[in-house]
């Protein structure tokens, strides 16, 4: 096993002219082939259109309808991903739900305590309510829930959020906020800022986004009481460094909203769409009314319920990427209930519970209940199922979190030889 050569090309163009000649030849050949075939077809199609007065083709009505595409082409490429969001906020149809669901950064559930909590993480009390994306552009504001359905369509004091701001409400200025709508005081609590006044914050760390959120939101007047051109109040939430006192403040501090658990954000994490371990949610009975999932009637079922996705080989998986396998569904059930690949199915976890080997799920005792609610866009994540399971059996307590912050200082222990167990 000799040392491995690591030479890289030095002061050289990456492509050889011979390779270029080959590729140009192939290109020319492909073009000529296309021309030859096109010619054959053109002949045919001119004959066809003379013979059969086929109507001018009309694309089939598709599920998604684009109402308008405002000045899309004029914008620079840098805004393309933001444009997607703005255009999509005008989309309709079932597909859009899935699309939207993918745009939010979704915290994983905290199933173990991350390292360096005190140094690298923020904590804040999550307001109870509906998680949504608020998009302001072209003089209007739309809020979309996690499943893509529209919550409100309203004027707001956000930049470009209402039709009064002549001039300033240009196509360039728009905002995308990650919010929770709190029913009781009819307030949008802004938990993250994705774009502000045309400026994208996707690539910025949470540290910067929170700083920006706090300074800009206040400035805009969006935190003012509701008025004719500003239908709902917006508010920031108090964010703390996750040290002893910060965690304590978030956990016990008084806030104007009902709490639903604590959210932990890694300070260095960018705004990442989909499930991410760099944002975590944790709950206990003291800081949330909704620790244990309830069923459709708002009651806590005697057995934990989970929603899993059916794959084509009968496998049942979570929404994670890559998905985590929970088991296989009996062929009989699939046939009897007329299930298809991609269906979201509800299960109860039986007395067998979940069993783990070396920290990995090995077996789950699943009892089939039926298809899930249609509004669900996707299955539960692994961390959610596990958190719910732990809550029912051996919950992660606030004391555990505080203890891990305390012990972080004396962690300089020397590890010894370890047997690999994978």
């Amino acid at each position: 096993m000799a040392p491995h050569d690591i030479r890289r090309p030095f002061k050289r163009a990456a492509i050889s002219d011979q390779q270029k000649r080959r590729e140009l030849s192939l290109l020319r050949q492909a073009q000529n082939r296309r021309d030859a075939q096109q010619q054959a077809r053109c002949l045919a199609s001119s004959i066809l259109s003379l013979q059969s007065a086929a109507p001018e083709s009309q694309p089939e009505q598709s599920d998604i309808e684009l109402e308008t595409v405002p000045e899309a082409e004029q914008e620079s490429e840098a805004f393309s991903k933001d444009l997607d969001v703005r255009q999509a906020s005008k989309l309709r149809g079932p597909e859009v739900r899935k699309w939207f669901a993918r745009q939010l950064m979704l915290p994983e559930w905290m199933i173990d305590v991350p390292d360096r909590l005190a140094q690298d993480w923020y904590v804040f009390a999550r307001p109870a309510g509906k998680r949504c994306f608020v998009v302001s552009s072209n003089g209007t504001t739309v809020s979309r829930q996690r499943n893509g359905s529209i919550l409100h369509h309203f004027p707001s004091a956000l930049p470009a959020g209402a039709k009064i701001r002549d001039g300033s409400g240009s196509a360039q200025s728009y905002c995308i906020l990650d919010c929770i709508f709190h029913e009781l005081d009819q307030t949008y609590y802004v938990i993250d800022m994705v774009c502000w006044n045309g400026y994208s914050l996707y690539d910025c760390t949470a540290e910067f986004r929170f700083y920006w959120l706090n300074s800009k939101l206040e400035e805009s007047g969006a935190c003012n009481a509701p008025s004719h051109y500003h239908k709902f109040r917006f508010s920031a939430v108090p964010v703390y460094n996750c040290d002893q006192s910060g965690l304590h403040a978030a956990y016990t501090g008084v806030v104007p909203y009902a709490k639903d658990g604590l959210l932990f954000y890694n300070k260095h994490a960018l705004y990442q769409t989909g499930n991410t371990p760099l944002a975590l949610v944790w709950k206990d009975d003291n800081c949330s009314q909704f620790v244990i999932d309830t069923d459709g009637k708002g009651e806590i079922p005697s057995q934990q319920q989970v929603v899993l996705e059916l794959q084509d080989d009968r496998k049942l998986v979570t929404s994670d990427d890559p998905p985590v396998l929970f088991g296989c569904l009996d062929g009989d059930i699939i046939e009897k209930s007329g299930l298809h690949t991609g269906n979201l199915l509800r299960f109860a976890i039986g007395d067998g519970g979940l069993s783990f080997v070396d920290g990995k799920l090995e077996k789950a005792d699943l009892i089939y209940l039926g298809k899930s609610n249609r509004a669900r866009a996707f299955a539960d994540s692994y961390s959610k199922v596990l958190f719910q399971f732990m809550v029912r059996h051996s919950p992660l307590k606030i004391d555990d979190l505080l203890a891990s912050i305390n012990s972080a200082n004396d962690q300089e222990k020397t590890p010894s030889d370890i047997e690999m167990v994978g």
């Binding site: 040392p3 163009a13 030849s25 000529n32 054959a40 199609s45 991903k81």
Partner: protein
């Protein structure tokens, strides 16, 4: 039952050629007469402590060669042969091999390690030799150091040989435990630690599960990092190699360690011996590769599901990383630019700096500019060169807005340095930097403030003058001119280079005639630049390109004036012929693209074709390919008249199609068959039997590189379209080949590369169907195609349902649907109506944003409505 092989093996290493030949023949004969006995004897020789070390080693090598070969098909045969070998013999051989691992003779041990890995590579995937890993590891702790080293080496080779999915996690755990413990500080023996560290490098690919376990990952990382500080330099180097490998395999797991790794690498880069420092730099280059890939995949579009997020390690390390890399730039070696094989810390550091610039863009600029300003006019050439290299390195990545002001300041300085700097190094790097300026900032040539009417003259004068400098500087000057010319591609009727065209061409030709043009790739660079200048020329200079034709023809003619050549001279001759054929190809393509120039050019066609045929007669693979490519271009330009060259050319065409070894040649020839089909149309009929036979033979061969198969299918379509119903003769064979390939390519299971390949295969198959349908249209024999229609529709439905076709396949596929409907008409009406393709797929294509797909879909819709309505 064993034979005596010692003497034969000794003879096989004799300095006397005749003795050697004799011995080799005997070995071959033994092998053919009784393979099991022969192999057992070899393993016995290897294991026998009383035998001389040379014969033991050679016995092991012969054994190894009986298990593995470079060529795929040969390798496959050897694997089958071993699997079917007598079980007793195999057990004996394996026992000997394992025993040899404890031999006191180091050469014997290490040979045995390699052979064991080869056997494992064959048997483990077939679930054979399950006890191997257990028996290697059973007593690894009690073994004497030498045997322990051999065991670890064996594990390393084994991991290199087999793929991770054939070893159970349980066994992986055991291997990793042994390897990592062998590396750790508790192991006292240096050789053992080195073997363990190198073994880990190969075993890393198996450690997926272990890297997902925080504790185990921490442990592995700690041991690797510790090994980077070990007193033995080879261990430090191997440990850094492991880090490099980890950086690409486990990028997403690195966050907790990156700060420590930075400290380790920074220390190694500044203080350690070069082989170690090079790996330390490579770590960061590799991180750049990862982040560039991730960021490219996002493409600024966060809706895409990327598995791995970007952790922006480079961005975070930037303030410390850039100064460290800039320091390395000052450690150049004298004459590194003349030495093709050179690779040193300055080169590695500069390369890494370039990657960093691509990773972070604008952010690097303020960190590098002070270094450039500080060093660019210093007395010491090293400082001037380093400053220039730093500048050149950051030209790709940052935005033009950020770079253009800098370039505007620097350009005059650079032009002056290229002519006046006393140091050849500095000039080399300066010319390279100019090339990078033209390459990366030319997007805005027309409106950019970089090149103006005023300085264009000066730039060209300086570059042409530098082409007279030493070969390495001249080569870089050619490169700069290449990119300068490229900036004026498709400029319209007039190019700023027009006034200089004659002078540029003349200078480049002069370069090709330099005595020392063979050094530093200079001649090749000059021809490549000439090609680019021709490609990017405008109508204004067409007469000058025409004048170039007889000049290059004369050059090619001169290479053919036969005197007896040594093999070295023959190689040079064939290389030069390749360059000249390449140049002629570019010229033909350029002049053939417009009617007036094509007409004038045609006066040379006979002579050029004559030269190409003579080049073929010299028979060398690369020339063959270049001449073949040029002939394709010539056929396209000549059209039906090309028929007159066919009688003489055909045998070379056939030869090209038979060239499996150099599959590029084969692929290029297949493409030329397409060119000729379109040029000759029905006049190609007399050659079709031979061509189709050879193409079908190629398809059924497992020796032909798979990349040639898709173009062969497309070529069926070209031929069918050219010859029409005459294709009936081959229809059954072609359809059956297409059908079995179609079945294989409906479902894809595999990595991106395989997906890409399968899509190219699908495209080839579909192009064949299109050509066949179109060729048979309006002939009385269309009904011959009806029996194939159900399968073709099924194939279309199949790939539609798979949802993994790319845009090209989509366009071709929907076109086939149209062609089928068009050619078969009402015969296929009900069949078409039943297919998914005619509804969902067609609708999807009709609403596609890709105009080509939409156009094909419109055509298909029209053809279908016609087929159904009748």
């Amino acid at each position: 039952m064993a034979m005596e092989v010692t003497q034969v093996l000794l003879n096989a290493q004799s300095i006397d050629g005749a003795v050697r030949k004799n011995a080799e023949d005997s070995l071959k004969q033994f092998q053919e007469q009784n393979l099991p006995v022969f192999l057992v004897s070899l393993s016995g020789e290897l294991a026998n402590e009383e035998k001389p070390v040379e014969t033991r080693k050679l016995a092991g090598l012969v054994l190894k060669n009986a298990l593995d070969a470079k060529e795929q098909h040969r390798k496959f045969e050897l694997v089958q042969r071993w699997l079917s070998l007598d079980g007793n013999a195999k057990s004996q051989i394996k026992a000997c091999l394992l025993k040899t691992l404890t031999s006191p003779v180091s050469d014997a041990r290490s040979t045995a390690s390699q052979v064991i890995a080869k056997v494992a590579g064959i048997e483990l995937p077939h679930k054979q030799w399950p006890e191997l890993i257990g028996s290697l590891l059973s007593n690894v702790h009690q073994l004497p150091a030498q045997a322990k080293q051999a065991t670890l080496e064996t594990l390393g080779y084994l991991c290199e040989e087999v793929s991770p999915d054939v070893i159970d996690q349980d066994q992986v755990n055991k291997i990793l435990t042994a390897v990592v413990q062998g590396m750790s500080s508790s192991e006292g023996n240096t050789d053992v630690r080195l073997a363990a560290t190198r073994a880990l490098y190969n075993a890393l690919g198996f450690a997926q599960a272990n890297f997902s376990n925080d504790m185990e990952r921490d442990y592995i990382m700690r041991v690797v990092c510790e090994a980077t500080l070990f007193p033995e330099v080879r261990i430090r180097q191997a440990a850094f190699e492991c880090l490099v490998s980890i950086s690409s395999t486990y990028y997403e797991k690195l966050a907790p360690y990156i700060q420590d790794i930075f400290n380790i690498t920074a220390k190694a880069v500044r203080e350690d011996e070069e082989p170690v420092a090079l790996q330390a730099i490579e770590f960061w280059s590799s991180i750049c590769d990862e982040e560039i890939d991730i960021l490219e995949e996002y493409g600024g579009d966060f809706t895409g599901d990327s598995d791995i997020p970007c952790f922006y390690f480079i961005k975070q390390a930037l303030p410390a990383l850039v100064p460290m890399l800039l320091e390395t730039l000052l450690k150049q070696e004298e004459d590194q630019d003349q030495d093709e094989g050179a690779w040193n810390i300055a080169m590695a550091g500069g390369t890494c700096l370039g990657l960093v610039a691509r990773t972070v863009g604008d952010d690097i600029v303020p960190l590098v500019v002070p270094f450039i300003e500080e060093n660019i006019s210093k007395q010491d050439w090293r400082q001037r060169e380093a400053a220039t290299y730093a500048f050149g390195s950051i030209l790709e990545g940052p935005s033009p807005e950020k770079l253009i002001p800098l370039v505007n300041v620097a350009l005059t300085f650079m032009l002056s340095a290229l002519t006046k700097d006393p140091n050849s190094h500095v000039k080399d790097t300066t010319a390279w930097t100019l090339g990078r300026i033209f390459e990366f900032l030319r997007g805005s040539v027309v409106d950019s403030p970089i090149i103006s009417q005023a300085n264009c003259q000066q730039i060209i004068t300086v570059l042409l003058q530098s082409m007279k400098d030493t070969p390495n500087v001249a080569e870089k000057a050619c490169g700069a001119l290449y990119f300068l010319a490229q900036g004026y591609e498709e400029m319209g009727p007039s190019s700023p280079l027009t006034p200089f065209f004659q002078e540029i061409v003349q200078s480049l030709l002069t370069v090709t005639h330099r005595e020392d043009a063979g050094e530093s790739r200079l001649r090749t660079a000059a021809y490549e630049t000439l090609n680019e200048v021709v490609r990017c020329s405008t109508d204004e200079t067409a007469p000058l390109v025409l004048q170039l034709v007889p000049v290059i023809m004369m050059e090619l003619h001169n290479t053919l004036e036969g005197q007896k050549l040594s093999s070295d001279e023959r190689e040079k001759q064939s290389e030069l012929q390749g360059l000249l054929c390449g140049c002629l190809q570019v010229i033909i393509q350029k002049l053939g693209a417009s009617e007036p120039t094509k007409y004038v050019f045609m006066q040379y066609a006979d002579q050029i074709m004559g030269l190409f045929l003579r080049v073929f007669a010299c028979r060398s693979a690369t020339v063959h390919e270049e001449a073949m490519l040029a002939i394709g271009a010539l056929a396209y330009a000549t059209g039906a008249d090309f028929a007159k060259y066919m009688p003489e050319f055909y045998r070379y065409l056939e030869m090209g199609l038979q060239n499996f070894e150099e599959y590029q040649v084969c692929a290029v020839t297949v493409g030329v068959v397409g060119d000729i089909s379109r040029a000759l149309e029905e006049k190609i009929v007399p050659y079709c039997d031979g061509i189709m036979t050879q193409l079908l033979k190629n398809l059924s061969s497992n020796q032909l590189h798979r990349s040639v198969k898709p173009p062969i299918f497309s070529c069926f379509g070209d031929i069918a379209l050219a010859v029409g119903e005459y294709f009936e003769k081959y229809l059954m064979w072609a359809m059956s080949a297409l059908q079995s390939a179609a079945e294989l390519s409906t479902h894809i299971a595999g990595d991106d590369e395989l997906v890409e390949y399968t899509n190219s295969l699908r495209n080839g198959i579909l192009e064949a169907y299109s050509g066949i349908f179109q060729g048979f249209k309006n002939s009385p024999k269309t009904q011959l195609l009806i029996p194939y229609a159900p399968h073709i529709l099924q194939f279309l439905d199949g790939i539609y349902m798979e949802k993994d076709m790319d845009d090209v396949v989509m366009k071709t596929a929907i076109g086939v649907l149209g062609d089928l409907a068009d050619t078969l008409g009402s015969h296929a009406g009900s069949m078409i109506q039943q297919s998914v393709s005619s509804k969902d797929f067609l609708n999807e294509c009709l609403s596609s944003e890709d105009l080509m797909i939409k156009e094909s879909a419109e055509w298909a819709k029209l053809a279908i409505s016609r087929a159904i309505s009748v």
